[in-house]
Symmetry: C2
Subunit: 338 residues, 2 copies
DNA sequence: GAGTCGAGGTTATACGTATGACTTGGAGGC
DNA sequence: GCCTCCAAGTCATACGTATAACCTCGACTC
């Protein structure tokens, strides 16, 4: 270990200030009113500053029995979306004196691993986004307070859930495209077994089938630009009348679809309309800018953290899904040929 | 607190297995060879499993004097790049029994805050990417083993550094564009006071000025699509001969530049060539696909973590910058008008 | 049959902190 | 002049773990 000497402890500070260790703890813990005089308190604070004292968190956590640390589990870090979720959660956490530890799922981190092995820091609770069932049971087995993000509220886990109102987003997309006159749809679905994607498929089917004369085909693709490119190209090359509107499960898929459409010599939105879901930076980087559903990732993170705090304090988390909003841009227009 | 009862401790396990607490610690810590019989060891393991025992990390950390936890500080989480860095670092860390805690800089997390307040988990060391000087002094004051990513090796901090060979990437970009015949350049520079961007500016100037008859203008923009759009539009509207090649400090800036070029009615690469730096997913999402410098973010993270482990063990970290590679795609071509 | 030795444990302790219980030295009341 | 009481501290302890030091008992040596 390269640590020059050993870290100063509260006892070192006490000695330097000529008081007991208890007094140091009292002063630094801001519990000294009526127990320590203002002058000694100042002397302690000065000694602590001089020595560069920082309390040993392990010891404090042990003594207190909690860590004020929380684990945020996300499916992958490679999207802006979860970065936003983290930001929101960390903001709320900081306001309450909590820290947030991030645990991206093990994709590419070798064999499936125990989230808790990675987060060596002891935890007070967990916020988990759609994740593998085995990891979930590990968490449940640990009896840790848990909040699930974007998960089936009727799931048997009995954990609190915080969800985006994805179904409403899909309703807005469907209404927008139907209003424009579209009747032949292609649903580019994420090839990921997660509740949030099931909702998209279910709600889209429900909305479109409610209107007579509509047809919906579905193509599945992994969430990557190349995957979406391949899947879309194949789907559009299928014989029969070409869809006039392409509903994508998220923006990244839409970006891949753009490339497929271009490759086939078609134009957006003249020949085919495209919609996404997320409203990442990517949505306005591509040409034309993407009509998509804006998800407020930071608010999502904030609500998740607030829910966890509620659970920790024995309160009931705030109910209600988080509203989402359709953002109409240049990738949607009325179909050219009826 | 919603925790049903209190967590089982090693003493509970000991009682259940009919042995002493020490024996439990020995068995579970895998240090029992020749000290505990195989049958008792199995009995202990079974009791631990039945009770759902998990060691209290705070107590262990306190006892051991280290946490096997590391803090990764990144400027912001909103880019794929640092997600890759994290992934690489976490992989190496996991191989060595370490965990990684992420600390995105405080942008939007309220007033500038102490990284350590957020990372309530006690830390063994820090990997820090280009960051504010005040945060750095806080770290140094703490005497924590430190590895800096993408920072001036001659900096006075005396910390180990791990750098990408950005200068070589710029050399490759310059050589590529000069080979194509370009002589009038616009450098779209990130408006961020960081060593890694200084290197780009310095090296680009050095390379281009070495060739007679070249001219270089510089425009500054914040790293965002809109910022780049505005700055590029203004720069290209300037009177005088138009640049034929646009060198951007990163891919996001290039994506913004694309929009500016389109808005001015110009085509890429026919009227103007554009290069980026990073090779994010964005680079192939835009049309035409971007010629850019590929940075291996995961390798960067791995090397960073390896360096920190070396420091922790008193070894000298591996020297040498991480190689980068120019990826030529459709956004560069010879200039149309000489 | 006394001595040795190792297998298979146990006991005791320290890590650094927070806090409830105790102490002390005066100031003030009557 | 004795009692009370409060301000300003101090003392002692517990949190759960890992490990060094100690103990015990049976097998084996000579």
């Amino acid at each position: 270990m390269a640590r020059s000497s050993t870290r100063p402890t509260s006892r070192d500070v006490a000695q330097a200030a000529g008081v007991s260790q208890a007094a140091v703890s009292l002063v630094l813990g801001d519990k000294w009113r009526g127990r320590v005089s203002e002058t000694t308190a100042e002397r302690v604070r000065e000694a602590a500053r001089d020595l560069g004292y920082r309390p040993n968190l392990a010891a404090r956590n042990l003594r207190l029995g909690h860590t004020r640390t929380v684990l945020l589990v996300v499916p992958a870090l490679t999207t802006e979306f979860f970065a936003g979720v983290y930001t929101g959660a960390a903001r709320v956490a900081a306001d309450h004196g909590f820290g947030v530890v991030l645990y991206p799922s093990p994709e590419g981190i070798g064999p499936a691993r125990d989230p808790f092995a990675s987060a060596q820091a002891a935890l007070d609770g967990v916020i988990a986004s759609s994740m593998a069932a085995d990891a979930l049971t590990a968490i449940r087995g640990d009896q840790l307070p848990l909040v699930m993000l974007d998960s089936d509220p009727s799931g048997s886990l009995g954990a609190a859930t915080v969800n985006l109102d994805i179904a409403d987003g899909i309703r807005q997309v469907a209404a927008h495209l139907l209003d424009l006159g579209h009747r032949r749809f292609l649903h580019l679905a994420a090839d990921v077994p997660s509740w949030t994607f099931e909702v998209r498929a279910r709600e889209l089917a429900a909305q479109l089938h409610a209107v007579p004369g509509t047809s919906v085909r579905t193509a599945h693709a992994p969430i990557s630009i190349d995957g979406a490119l391949t899947a879309t190209e194949a789907a559009l090359a299928t014989p029969g009348p070409r869809p006039t509107a392409l509903v994508c499960d998220d923006d990244k898929l839409a970006a891949g679809a753009y490339k497929a459409v271009r490759r086939l010599g078609l134009r957006i939105p003249d020949d085919i309309s495209v919609t996404g879901l997320d409203d990442l930076g990517l949505a306005t980087a591509i040409d034309p800018e993407l009509t998509t559903v804006r998800l407020d990732a930071e608010l999502f993170g904030e609500r998740g953290m607030e829910a966890l705090l509620a659970v920790l304090e024995g309160r009931t988390p705030q109910a209600g899904d988080i509203p989402v909003e359709l953002v109409v841009r240049g990738s949607t227009a009325p179909p050219s040929t009826p």
